[in-house]
Assembly symmetry: C3
Homo-oligomer: 499 residues x 3
């Protein structure tokens, strides 16, 4: 090992202390390093800056409970006293991993999964498994309504004989689009020999790869990817706590959380003063470590007061502090009980959590008591910096906005229903997609973009985004444009009839 340390010290002089000193590597990891110092060296350099390379699980377990990031009560002996290196993760559970392959004498797999991470982080893995996010692949794929939306967005259209036709999208397009964030199904499609810098070697051929989407279906049968937020190979808690991480998937008009945060007072404090905050402290002390929340503070992290009182427990079930689901569906509604939303059916038989009128399908959704519990959990975070009256006033405004944006969606839906009924557009009754025509796409924007953007702006006090940027202005304009279009179309149809 001495030579290796010497090489590492020469290359990473600024981190020499960690590499050279107290944290031993497993023999297997040392072997990985010996080649991968020159093959994909950036991975190694990044990992070397991580806590995984700098503290053993055994040492990590000795920390006081609130400071601990390892949630396992006990770590397997063979893992406890060494760094969490290449081999530790990439050879974990080899028999479960369909992507396992023989590599220089080891049974290595490419795709590290929540089940691999669960050896040391079982609580987080379990909570994440109960999360809507970990079900994001199936919830999109197995719901015929969403699936039809995906097809209409990603499919290839042609124009022939003055008509457009839609061909279902190929898999690569879906991977590159919706499933980038929702996660792909990563499947082993065979093996393949390839000449490498060392020798000819055999590697598995994976479909749906690369991907780090939150709901990825993994070759070991597990769901999700920790790397979506805890980016390989630094696994930096600082990064996971910063809003840019969430913005990878939560910035577009369908879920503009980051955009709203960015123009909120909270976002401003973060952008202006955040560079002096402590993003690494566990637990995270409000006021001392940060003076305005990031996404993680409100929704995920373990927060304490200056006196050491726990304000909020850490959770990786992201809606634990959220009574309302304000995006992705036609109307805002209480969160679904089960993270598997493909089981939901409304009275009309559609797999939707509300009727087309906005009425919630109660049996599949959390009840008012659970909503209240989640509201309290969130408010406790607010109340660590805001007085009661402030929080109460803010929340009343937000719930009012839920009602008014739902009303504005209902109006657009009523126009759409008229269009279908009067034959100006083709919908379910004509056995046609409800997402493929121009007017239907305008209707979709009403709820998928404008109503939800307005709600996000209200929820997180980023009003600038909720009016002219992507909110109420379009919510009101869109109704007028839909009505204008329908009037024109119906007149045209009358003319045709007359003749």
């Amino acid at each position: 090992m001495k030579n290796l340390v010497f090489v590492l010290l020469a290359i990473f002089p600024f981190t020499g202390a960690a590499f050279g000193a107290s944290v031993p590597f497993s023999e297997a990891t040392e072997e990985c390093i010996s080649c991968h110092l020159s093959i994909y060296p950036g991975i190694l350099a990044e990992w070397e800056k991580s806590l995984h390379a700098r503290i053993t699980p055994k040492e990590a377990l000795k920390k006081p409970e609130l400071e601990r990031r390892v949630s396992a009560k006990k770590i397997p002996d063979e893992l406890g006293a060494i760094a969490v290196g290449c081999a530790e993760c990439h050879t974990m559970n080899p028999e479960k991993h369909k992507d396992t392959f023989e590599h220089e004498g080891y049974k290595v797999h490419v795709v590290v999964t929540p089940e691999d991470c669960a050896v040391c982080h079982p609580t987080e893995a379990k909570q994440f498994g109960q999360n809507l996010m970990s079900h994001a692949y199936g919830n999109l794929r197995n719901n015929p309504v969403y699936h039809s939306l995906v097809d209409s967005v990603n499919g290839i259209q042609s124009f022939e004989e003055m008509k457009t036709t839609l061909k279902a999208p190929d898999a690569e397009t879906n991977f590159d689009s919706c499933y980038y964030c929702h996660g792909t199904a990563v499947e082993v499609k065979g093996k393949r020999a390839r000449k490498t810098a060392m020798d000819e070697m055999v590697f598995p051929v994976l479909s749906g790869w690369p991907n780090q989407g939150v709901g990825r279906l993994n070759p070991d049968g597990s769901m999700g990817s920790c790397a979506a937020c805890h980016t390989r190979h630094a696994f930096s808690i600082e990064m996971a706590r910063k809003p840019h991480t969430c913005s990878e998937c939560h910035k577009g008009p369908d879920v503009p959380a980051y955009q709203v945060y960015d123009v909120s007072k909270h976002g401003n404090v973060y952008s202006s003063l955040g560079r002096e905050w402590n993003f690494k402290a566990v637990p995270w002390m409000v006021g001392r470590d940060f003076t305005a929340p990031t996404c993680a503070s409100c929704h995920v992290s373990l927060i304490i007061t200056g006196e050491g009182e726990v304000v909020a427990e850490r959770t990786h079930r992201m809606n634990d502090r959220l009574p309302w689901r304000i995006m992705g569906l036609i109307y805002a509604h209480p969160h679904p009980k089960s993270p598997d939303t493909s089981i939901i059916k409304n009275k009309a038989g559609l797999p939707l959590p509300t009727e087309l009128t906005g009425e919630p399908v109660k049996e599949f959704l959390i009840d008012e008591r659970e909503q209240e519990r989640r509201r309290q959990a969130l408010h406790r975070v607010c109340l660590s910096c805001h007085a009661y009256g402030w929080v109460e006033g803010h929340w009343a405004r937000f719930e009012n906005t839920i009602r008014t944006t739902n009303a504005m969606t209902l109006t657009a839906t009523n126009i759409m229903l008229s269009a279908w009924e009067k034959g100006a557009a083709r919908g379910l009754a004509q056995n046609d997609s409800i997402f493929n025509e121009a007017i239907e796409k305008k209707w979709v924007e009403q709820w998928l973009f404008f109503a939800n953007s307005t709600r996000f702006a209200s929820a997180m006090a980023g009003a600038d985004y909720g009016v002219f940027a992507n909110g109420r202005w379009y919510l009101s304009k869109n109704i007028q444009e839909m009505a204008d279009w329908l009037e024109l179309r119906l007149k045209g149809m009358q003319e045709e009839k007359k003749q």
Copy 2:
């Protein structure tokens, strides 16, 4: 006090020096702290990092004039020798504050106002009072044209019998939308007892709360909120000088100052190198403390050269260095003389600073001499880093852009006037809102979004925003779409007539 200091030192060890040492707190503030260390502790932790907690007004007054942030010539004796703590602000002027309530033996109010701040910062409070911003509430509320725009954006629309109808928005929606930035009227609606962590206590019930909009109407009768930019409770000058603060209200397409700055050379220098600048120096030395301006440098701050010469005096009347008002209205025009714009009337009797042709309503607007004075004030800032020919060329281009964007707005207005005249839309003559129909909303976008965005991009040299992002592309496309729509509508009307 010893115990309290001890507790504080334990919790905020990194700031112990300030807390433990030379700046004494008033007895009242000590009492506040003793409970609020555990109730809303984030507020306390943030304040503790502020200058208010670290220097007494008396000491602050001793600084050389250019370095001074306190503009009062004299501070009341009882305030001079203690930290500016909770009680100092929240019990100021109790008799004027309708939101004053009895709280643990003190007459406390919730809403701290510019008049409270004026005890130490009278010049800034006075300038801000002459600012368009401090009048933002009334200017929106009392101008029937703007009020009609607000209603059309925030109101609830319904669709019945193939027609849309508009219901005026409720107050909460307005608070959550336009008035978030413009400011709400904060009014005391009664009192209410509430069980707190300590005891049952009585608090005032406030409407329009929370709000920190620039034109807030306060319970003490004053206008505005210093916290809009000087965020509670750190009151950090660094934050007020950073562009993120302005972006809270100046990012959307109606006033995209931040978006333009962000793609300008200035914004690039800030984003790339700003972390090494000194945002706390007063006065602010160009070149040494910063090498590219932020919003504050050009429009607000006291700027000096390396030789100590004053480039620009500090001002809180934000348009002191601005000859043109380029946003918010149908045409760009010289700034209004009075910050109360509800007094303006054009020849047509409308409360607008120009005619519908773009001709300015001169009697209410600053004259050319005052425009020139403001232009010079701004150019002095430019000239601290740019040669004369550069500034001259840039400005000529900007004023050309004012003319061309006004021309493109006139064209859209002419189309709109034709639509009203020929009955394709319903306007003032039909006693209808000029903002509620689809085509009218397109017309609004011409000036409220595209023309002003193009002007901002020109003013601040962020051309990327002014062409395809939100500028000339849409300015030209929108005219074609309006003309296209009008042609189609008129043909339809002719067909109907024939039959």
Copy 3:
């Protein structure tokens, strides 16, 4: 010089070492400083922080080859042993510079050009000269198709007798719009006396000034501006390497590279952790100096591994690592061979690199072998942090996206061709612009905004931007809206015919 140093030390105390010590200034530069310490002082202060002020070219030449930023083999004697100061650049090649003027006994020019910089940086200047960017002015101006697009965007439209007309834009508008990034032609229009802070002096009058566009035509006959990325007068490599620099021109929907980067994993790592990176190291060591690429890492910079192996040579021909040109034209296609694209002609005689069907005009474009060479050059950068299978999978997805977005553009083009053919719009056959009508502008958005945005999102793995923000959603919606419009128009035309 002693007094000057003394003054400088007083003003810039934190940089005294550099100013006061080992790097002597030329006599000419000393004279510049003596006045410009108070006239435009920010320029001086910024330059003083630059390497130009802190190391002589002679010393710079002594560095090991990989660390060297000066690419000249030899520096002229008179420049070698002094700082690169005001006079060194602004009096270089006076006879070539048409903007040279007599100024306090020196032949000074305003506009410093790549040819001036080439004295020390000849390789970079030469590469940049072979770059599409350095030809950006002529490529826009001399291509009648693009020129017609510019006119339709920047021109002034009027509305009279129910018809719109378009007047060609004035020069200032073009400078403020497209040519801001593409570069202006900076021309000397005469001389003018002006009273300055010192005396009356005579300066050249320049048109097209100020400008720092990449393809600027300079008064010495050279093309381009190094200051576009290497911002005057700090010439900071840190800044050039940060993505904000590129975002000045590459953020809008026509070329949203920055927007995509910002929501990519790479962009997230940069935003979250980049403040700890070393942006000044030359060469730039992957993993140690940075753990995720910025624009420069992939496309420009000299990159080495921890073992000192060169991953990528520095290049200022920006497409050296790019096989595909994915923006700016109707279809994605292999990069053109020559940076002067005005020489290209397709079968239809149009100056476009593809036919209207998307078929590439091969003779003007790089062949597959050259594409493969560039692909390899880029992949070597990817492979410094990503495994082979990851890179391969990512690239396959990207090239699939090139195909599908080209297909979606073809569909929109087919609708447009039908509209022209059937007289619903006026195109080339009617000797009319193909960019001036509403429906034509929709067609332009299909390729100029939506198809290319989708490709950028795919290329740089910023999927959030490529679906709902500005990608596939609009790509699919736009086709439906175009088809819907065409159907309505054609029906209207039939009605008219009948009567």
